[in-house]
Amino acid sequence: MTDPGRERRLLRGPNFLAALLALVAVFVVVIAGGFDAHAALGAFWRGSVGSSYAFFSVTLVRATPLVLLGLAVALAFRAGVLNIGAEGQLLAGASAAVAVGLSCRAWPGVLLVPSELAAGVAAGAAWSAIAAVLKRRFGVLEVISTLMLNFIAQYGVSYLVRGPMQEPTRVYPYTVQLTDAGRLPPLVGELHVGFVLAVALAIGLWWMLRSTATGYRMRVVGAGAAAAASAGRVRVERVALGAFLASGAVAGLGGAVQATGVTYALYEGISPGYGYTAIAVALLARLHPVGVLGAGVFFGALEAGAAAMQRDAGVPSVFVAVIEALVVLAVLALDRARETAASRTAPTVAPPVAEAG
């Protein structure tokens, strides 16, 4: 953004309002559905943040992939790249990590886990590189190409777990489990070291965007090609390409972390759409890396609480998807309201395109 004042406004924007709305929606669902409000909301609280077990072993475990994938989405959107292929990049990363974990099972953990994560990063970047090259060399809209690549990755995983990587009895569509050496070490309860990685990455990306020349270029490119031209010698295509690959790498890391920290194996449903939920996470965070951390934990708590409400009070947990969607729509509507207010005071300002994606 060329106008520092506007960036501050955007980053401080009314996302707490959208989060609050989500909580109100939970309440409305419980009441409107005629459920026992006391039991349901109690279960929601206990299942998400009401105990240290719930917070660390459920909420933060669920939050970890959402934070990593949210960072991937935010990174791309910040540079004006509409990468909606985080889901496919996650699958590529998870597949590569498990492949390395299974084929190098004799290695010690200090060597094996980093290799698995590195393989995930490389595979995620490679998967996004297809879309990046299609965009740069052939002008293919990344929205469409990344969407196609999500499906191709999904069928790729389906093939792997029913073909070359299937468990030896050839009955079940999944791989054998990773050995202990190939798993991310535990942190607290069920929570694994992957969460620390996610936190570190969020802070690192925040610093990068804020204080480095690369971060500056990304923000300028995200603000639009015209801004990039007027800011001097910023090579728009090159910066966008870099952001695209970095976004894929982070999503691939997310897949590798999920495979080595939670599932310990590859199977078709390894991601229940983290890559899509991540768009809501990134948007609620207004594309701010540290905000993504908060939004990811918020969504993790929401999902953990909803699962507990289903278990203890019979409230269907699928309504979380509705709430996630409403959060996105609320953010968009609030953005629009703010833009209208801004254009009333300064009618010449062009509509900000990059921040909202």
């Binding site: 299609l134 293919v140 690549l149 499906f151 029913r162 699928v318 709430i323 968009l332 994606g357």
Partner: protein, 307 residues
């Protein structure tokens, strides 16, 4: 493949292609107005659910009406954000897909129990067209299908005629290519886009309705299974032209039908390859279109000037 197997395969291809063709022809109109609706998936699943509810009350015909209405209702939310509020099309679309999938799953569980009882709806079966269905090979594939499929044989050419030969079709294309110029000519881009999005939603809903009323006979959560996104690929592969889109839908239908055939026939090719093939083809086709402006020029653009 033996003749009988081939006939069976072609028939299954047309059957799989039918819901895709409805959704893709609708999305084609939406995209021609310069709007890409990634929320189509939400319209399809809403259509499926609407078909279940309204067919239970008023039979198959009411089911299709309910399907179209539900799809259009979901699309109306999309239009409100994208056209009226000028929100980002892609992000809104993703949210609308999530909304449709989540809302139908929640309502289904709430209305029919947590297990989601397998409800049967009245369905329409294939009705062979006298004479035509006796054509060797193609006859049974094309002319022994439910009525909804036959409607497409009329609809696709009609849409092509409408798009290129009618005043309204010209207005639609003008808005998709150059909304400012269209406005200069006295056309309201907002109005055109609202209608194009509603039409796309209703067609998506009919696609979902076809799944329930002419194929599966019941509703299951997430039964749209990504068909909304497939339809977007079909529009691209069909080069934003009605007849091309119909042909591309058939190709995706064939790829989906092929997975069962290759399993039966013990081909060495993994069935996932046939499922992934249309997506790869779409990417290749897109790359090959480089430099030739086939996509509507204003597609996914957010900043239509007011004057």
């Amino acid at each position: 493949m033996s003749g009988e197997a081939l006939t069976f395969f072609l028939q299954a291809s047309v059957r799989s292609a039918t819901p895709l063709a409805y959704a893709a022809l609708g999305e084609l109109v939406t995209e021609r107005s310069g709007v890409i609706n990634i929320g189509l998936e939400g319209a399809i699943i809403a259509g499926a659910f609407g078909a279940l509810v309204s067919a239970g009350v008023g039979g198959v015909a009411a089911g299709f009406v309910g399907a179209a209405a539900a799809g259009a209702a979901v699309a109306a939310v999309f239009a409100l954000f994208v056209v009226t509020l000028r929100a980002d099309q892609i992000i809104t679309g993703m949210a609308i897909s999530m909304l449709g999938l989540g809302l139908t799953a929640t309502l289904y569980t709430a209305l029919y129990g947590s297990g989601g009882a397998a409800l049967d709806t009245p369905t329409i079966g294939p009705r062979a067209l006298p004479g035509l269905h006796a054509i060797p090979l193609l006859g049974p594939a094309l002319f022994d299908q439910p009525v909804g499929t036959y409607a497409l044989y009329v609809l696709a050419p009609l849409l092509a005629w409408w798009l290129y030969r009618s005043q309204a079709g010209l207005a639609l294309r003008a808005v998709g290519e150059y909304p400012e110029a269209a406005r200069g000519a006295g056309i309201s881009p907002e109005r055109v886009r609202w209608w194009a999005i509603l039409f796309g939603g209703a067609m998506g809903g009919l696609g979902g309705g076809t799944l329930v009323l002419a194929q599966v006979g019941t509703f299951t959560e997430h039964m749209s299974a990504g068909r909304g996104f497939i339809a977007i690929a079909i529009v691209v592969l069909g080069r934003w032209k009605p007849l091309g889109v119909a042909a591309a839908a058939l190709l995706f239908g064939a790829a989906s039908a092929l997975q069962y055939r290759s399993q039966v026939m013990g081909w060495s090719l993994p069935y996932q390859a046939s499922l992934a093939f249309p997506y790869v083809l779409t990417l290749v086709a897109l790359a090959g279109m480089r430099g030739r402006a086939v996509a509507p020029a204003a597609l996914a653009r957010r900043d239509v000037a007011d004057t």
